[in-house]
């Protein structure tokens, strides 16, 4: 029982990341009808927003130290972050400690802009082209984005740390009355909560605002909405920016769990695509459901007990599920009729 509960927990944070990326992907499918292979790269860029913010906060100047001296008695030079100089050590410590959560703000702004620019500059011209062309051009864009990141940040993963408050592990087992055996890192819990919050936010935005209503109407029947005198195109562009921002914050918050490197986007992209397909093209709820489901399945498959019966199952479980789902339920778990069918 403990083990099962722990595996479910383990699957939640990864599932959260899958769900957030897949949500953006399927939103773009549903609105613009575009297959975006660069979405994983957006996740990666978001992660590097966190890295960048940390570096910006650390920008420092050199000055002669007042307290430290070297062994000859000459004063040493020391690096002082500007933040510390301007706001004092406490604020600076706090900001550095909380750089990952703060980077969400940066990620939303930067990724939103990147998303809108990308849609206006490139995707716009590919609405009418075949899906193969869309896949190829965004694949090229993904390569470019990841190579640029590699150029500036190097090829090695850059670890980021969560705020000290969330260091260590939570005794989750105690909360639900399972004894002390089930402990789980705090930050992963936070990530799960965060992803649930973002997903809820996106759904609420689409469900309860006028803007969201128009977007949903546009997903159903774009032409009629256009005939009503609504500029649906502009709203879809905003949706693309929203999808990019969601992928971005998902990446930024994921950095303490997985140190970001330049190809993390590609790794997640393939999986997220599988998630979208399993959930059903264009279905938001399906993407979220499939994301969490596959995350949890993956963590169950990597249990030693399972691996000893079916060796290697942890490596292929997601793809295997995708194959089975696609062959038995052609529209995925919750796919709508008429979306992406040829």
């Amino acid at each position: 029982m403990d083990a099962i509960f722990l595996q479910i927990l383990n699957g939640l944070d990864k599932g959260g990341a899958y769900a957030l990326i897949a949500l953006g992907l399927t939103l773009v499918f549903g609105t613009l009808g575009v297959v975006n292979f660069a979405h994983g790269a957006l996740f990666m860029l978001g992660a590097f927003c966190a890295v960048t913010l940390h570096r910006i906060l650390n920008i420092s100047f050199e000055r002669v130290s007042e307290t430290q001296k070297d062994f000859l008695g000459n004063p040493l030079k020391e690096q002082v972050p500007y933040l510390q100089e301007w706001f004092g050590p406490q604020v600076s410590e706090f900001l550095l400690d909380w750089s990952v959560p703060i980077s969400i703000l940066l990620a939303i702004i930067v990724m939103g802009i990147i998303g809108v620019v990308m849609e206006r500059g490139l995707i716009k011209h590919f609405y009418k082209r075949p899906h193969a062309d869309q896949i190829l051009v965004t694949f090229g864009l993904a390569i470019i984005l990841q190579e640029i990141v590699r150029h500036y940040f190097g090829a090695n993963p850059i670890p980021q740390s969560a705020p000290d408050v969330f260091a260590g592990a939570a005794n989750v087992g105690n909360w639900v009355g399972l004894g002390d055996n089930v402990i789980y890192p705090w930050w992963r819990l936070v990530y799960f909560m965060f992803s649930a919050l973002v997903i809820f936010g996106v759904f609420a935005f689409l469900q309860f605002t006028t803007f969201g209503m128009v977007v949903r109407a546009g997903m159903q029947d774009r032409e009629t909405v256009g005939l009503l005198g609504i500029n649906i195109q502009r709203r879809f562009t905003v949706v693309f920016g929203l999808a990019a921002a969601v992928a971005g914050v998902a990446g930024a918050m994921y950095t303490p769990i997985l140190p970001p490197d330049y190809h993390m986007g590609m790794d997640f992209l393939v999986l997220s695509f599988v998630v979208v397909v399993v959930g059903g093209m264009g279905s938001l709820a399906g993407a979220v459901l499939a994301g969490f489901m596959l995350g949890i399945l993956q963590s169950f498959a990597s249990m030693n007990e399972v691996k000893s019966i079916l060796p290697g199952i942890d490596q292929i479980i997601i793809y295997l599920v995708a194959v089975i789902v696609l062959l038995t339920l052609p529209r995925g778990l919750m796919g709508r009729k008429g979306v992406m069918e040829d």
Binding site: V35, L136, L141, E147, P311, Y319, L327, M340, D342
Partner: protein
């Protein structure tokens, strides 16, 4: 089968063969005439021709073709380890095994079309890649890669570290040092290796030509243009699609075995999905659906990969030294992003530029240029045609 080929086709085949065979001399001026690169041209040419049979003719975009290259490589190396260093069994077994794999994967994947097909093939390729790295290490030797070794002395040595080579032992072929792949004694490295690949490339080109011009090829093109209509006329398209998928998988298997023949090591990184993306780019760059295009694309990509990744700032400074200093520094700074380590960046840009501006590839570009130069001729020709029509 041959009767469907017109005189122009035979001409094309002869010209193509001639060009391929004189490549070692023809490419001397651009510094590409060394065996390693020439072998790559031929091998990836075969891969791209095969991919084009599926993508170019039927329009089904597979993102998992690298898996067959991997299968081909592994089978070839195992053939070297267990049977003989002769390349003939390696080639035959690889192609056969790739066909089996392609049939299994194709049978499942081709139940769906469009983007779903791409994702399914991608999923299968990723599965093979992950398995090759994890559970299948006894067969694939994981990250180290599978290599040809010396004959093992005792049966305790694992097959990964010591080879058997039953047939070679049977015929008492002596082995000195590291065994080298051969074709009945002719060593398959350097130029002989290239010519072996080149001959196979020409044969593959010929087969692809026959397929394109045959009724079967016609059917594949019909699937691309409108599959529904075919279904309505009562034609069951799946057998055709599966055949095309298997054929292109066999081409990839052949390419994989040739990679192993020219350099007897097989690693899982050949199966990664970026490798599948590369062959898509080759085909698109040259021109999907054309015969010569994919080979051209493969050659260009491999050439650019070799050249661009070997350039550095020094070479750029030399090349641009004629320009004023400020401009030179600026351009060198700009281009240095794209050369050396930045080769993938160039690849990405190439990808986008081709897809955005020239979806038909270089062959389409060439056709357009020819059309714009020969406009007068063609208008005259069409004019005379309209004149002659009433007379008929």
């Amino acid at each position: 089968m041959f009767s469907s080929l017109s005189r122009n086709d035979w001409l094309l085949l002869i010209v193509f063969s001639a060009i391929v065979l004189v490549l070692p001399w023809a490419l001397q001026p651009i510094g590409a005439a060394y065996p390693d690169l020439l072998q790559k041209f031929a091998i990836f040419g075969i891969f791209a021709i095969g991919f084009n049979i599926l993508f170019g003719l039927t329009g089904y975009l597979s993102f998992g073709h690298a898996a067959f290259i991997g299968v081909g490589s592994y089978v070839a190396v195992w053939s070297f380890k267990l049977l003989t260093m002769n390349v003939i069994p390696a080639v035959i077994l690889s192609v056969g095994m790739a066909a089996v794999f392609a049939f299994l994967i194709g049978y499942v994947s081709l139940r769906r079309s469009g983007i779903y097909f791409s994702i399914l093939t991608l999923a299968f390729a990723q599965m093979s890649y992950n398995l090759a790295y994890s559970v299948l290490t006894p067969i694939t030797n994981g990250e180290t890669g599978l290599q040809v070794r010396a004959i093992r002395q005792t049966a305790e040595t694992s097959l990964r570290d010591g080879d058997v080579r039953v047939i070679d032992q049977l015929f008492g072929i002596p082995e000195v040092g590291v065994p080298i792949t051969n074709l009945f004694g002719m060593k398959m490295s350097g130029y002989p290796g290239f010519y072996f690949c080149a001959v196979l490339l020409i044969i593959c080109f010929f087969i692809a030509m026959c397929i394109t011009k045959s009724n079967f090829g016609m059917m594949l093109k019909a699937i691309k243009s409108n599959q529904n209509r075919l279904n309505y006329t009562g034609i069951h398209t799946r057998p055709y699609l599966i055949s095309a998928f298997v054929i292109s998988g066999m081409y990839a298997g052949l390419a994989g075995s040739l990679l192993a023949i020219t350099d007897p090591i097989a690693g899982a990184e050949r199966m990664q999905w970026t490798a599948s993306g590369e062959v898509v780019l080759m085909t698109i760059l040259g021109g999907a659906g054309t015969l010569v295009g994919p080979v051209l694309g493969a050659g260009l990509i491999k050439y650019a990969e070799q050249k661009v990744s070997s350039w550095n700032e020094g070479i750029l400074h030399n090349a641009l030294s004629a320009l004023p200093d400020g401009v030179e520094d600026f351009l060198v700074g700009l281009f240095s992003f794209f050369v050396g380590e930045g080769w993938h960046l160039t690849l990405g840009f190439l990808f986008m530029v081709i897809v955005i501006f020239l979806p038909g590839g270089l062959m389409e570009g060439a056709r357009r240029i020819r059309a714009s130069f020969g406009r007068d001729n063609s208008s005259k020709a069409s004019g005379s045609k309209t004149v002659s029509q009433p007379a008929e």
